[in-house]
Subunit: 413 residues, 2 copies
Amino acid sequence: MAVSIDYAALLAPDLPAPAPGWQGRPPYNFIGGHVDAASVPVEDMIAATATALRRDGATLSTYGLESGPLGYRPLREFVAAKLKKRSGLSVSPDEVLITSGSIQALELVYQLLCCPGDTVLVEQFTYAGTLSRLRGLGVNPVGISLDESGMRADLLAAKLAELKAQGIRPKFIYVIPTIQNPDGSIMPEGRRAELLQVSAEYGVPIFEDECYADLLWNGERPPAIAAMDEGRQVIHCGSFSKTIAPALRVGYIIAEPGLVAQIAACKEDGGTGALEQMMLSEYCWSHFDDHVDKVTLLLKEKLNVMTEALEEHFGTTAEFTAPPGGIFLWVSFPDAVDAMKLASAAAARGVAINPGPDWSADAAPARSRIRLCFGNPTHQAIRDGVKVLAEVCHEEFGVPVRSGNIERNSQSN
Amino acid sequence: MAVSIDYAALLAPDLPAPAPGWQGRPPYNFIGGHVDAASVPVEDMIAATATALRRDGATLSTYGLESGPLGYRPLREFVAAKLKKRSGLSVSPDEVLITSGSIQALELVYQLLCCPGDTVLVEQFTYAGTLSRLRGLGVNPVGISLDESGMRADLLAAKLAELKAQGIRPKFIYVIPTIQNPDGSIMPEGRRAELLQVSAEYGVPIFEDECYADLLWNGERPPAIAAMDEGRQVIHCGSFSKTIAPALRVGYIIAEPGLVAQIAACKEDGGTGALEQMMLSEYCWSHFDDHVDKVTLLLKEKLNVMTEALEEHFGTTAEFTAPPGGIFLWVSFPDAVDAMKLASAAAARGVAINPGPDWSADAAPARSRIRLCFGNPTHQAIRDGVKVLAEVCHEEFGVPVRSGNIERNSQSN
């Protein structure tokens, strides 16, 4: 007799919806932190893997590669060197914890600090994964408005004072100061100092996420907030997903050694993938800077293709500020446009976009905004996809009134 | 002014103790699922990585390697083929979810089914990680006694009846039927059928952990319980950690497609390490069987060295049954021996062992038992470490009365 267990009666509550069957990605994929397929340094990765495996391959026989719970030591040494050179952040390899992508870095910090009912302060517009995951944990993300310099320190202080009056001490202030996600801005040094001041005043740490910070068009940037931290106010994280490849799943957390040891104890996964750590440690010492120069050039070209396509097909209907780096563009439409409706209508036409409300602590301010990722699609896919998106937007909301050269010619007459 | 946040006031409750600074492993390391360092197939791994990267390296630019949320499809195809050949289990690649080691496989099943206060049934002696993690989640693991055929089906049925009378429906029955951890036994087919019968009768699924099942001295084994499952009573997991290398962090879950899709949705990690999945998929098709034949031979030799050393230095003080495969030996000492005390005294002498109570649902039955892993240490380290362990045991508990050839000669007079 065939028996079937009634799993519905056994499943934990509030599980995410089952993963849909894999149909591949849509033809015009403007979502996800993917990178340019042609830029993956396959041959250099092969050489680096061979060198690293011939040197330390026997240590695959043990958990942790004989490097302990913080991760493969040669990679921690590279991360420390990279941060000193690029972010002005001086740390020892014992202050670096290698994680399975920055997703795990975020998860570990939530696990370290958060309980259901806790409050966390975030930028009004921020990484959708942080918002959804915090809410999934029963944590309340409270948005602080941004200006062109990032999270407003005055509003942050006001909110902390208001919460303090209610007896609420937020667990941390989550910021993405260098290539803010989604708006792409870079927080000036002065604002970083102001945030540190407010953090100190209220005794609430800053969690600085710099997973896009290495993708700057001109390389110029202020020091990481963690680099300006005179105490131990800042927990910092980053990733190799956007500079090398997202499928590798390698990121890192920087904090003072005592805190790193506490976070490492929470990382009960048997270690992060060994081949990735070994390959990256070997590859990055000799190739990271050159590779980043190459991919940022490719990304800047794709951004130009995307902004030109938006101007051609949306005209003044689409407002945006071209970012100084990264892989995404934050676009604002007239109030008539409902980004959630636009996203589902566009999906039906093969165009995937991130609707603003998913990337906003409060849905309303992002009602007519979308995030467009340009890292993975080809130039042609960007041009064609934006054209389809404009058609869908016109069909749904009547704007842009008309798209393409015709209108722009008629305007020029 | 240097500011220091008072993290003690911010940390979540019940965090594990901070990870100690890395001092390397003890000279006589008889703990942990490590394997033989010399058996890591470094050159074949290098070749496999190169082939896989030249074929699919460009897909590293996207999360999931264009294979979707279940993991790299060529590896899922190999896992399906391996299970059919070795475990008698016929599944499609869409019933295979690749995980970051079997640790994540276990975590995902806990997340799928368990809430604080839930009950789970386990073998009286079982994997310490399962016991500690379930308790960490507020789940109550209830032990069912083992006999030489594994978990006793009659006692399982009695416990389920008792719990049912209390209105308690356990979330699953966790068993390690093929190379039971820690006792190394193999559950006969008849007992597997009995467990399925009881599972069906009470509507409680079986979670079958076969992460050691490929390491059999003679390859003979009954089908996986999942292979005998006519409905969908069994969730099955396995790993490449013990057959290839633990640092790779690649395991898998097998369940019916709907359940796999639900578990995949809970796996919010951006994917399992890509290089590991690519390398293994390429390596295993051509080398897995030969490699497993080679390592099981090495492991059997190490087991012989360990049992000879135990007989030499402990004589009749150490009782054990040599397992038909795997990487560990379950040893029983006279009641006078407190395994927890022995473990700490031995650690001070550079010998790491697993005290029985850590591997037992109830501490008492395992008070005088220990688990000794022989996969990683050299023959010499096994001989020397067991000799030191016998000295420590004698110093602490007076047994063995005397160790080494002297006594055995005097006995023979």
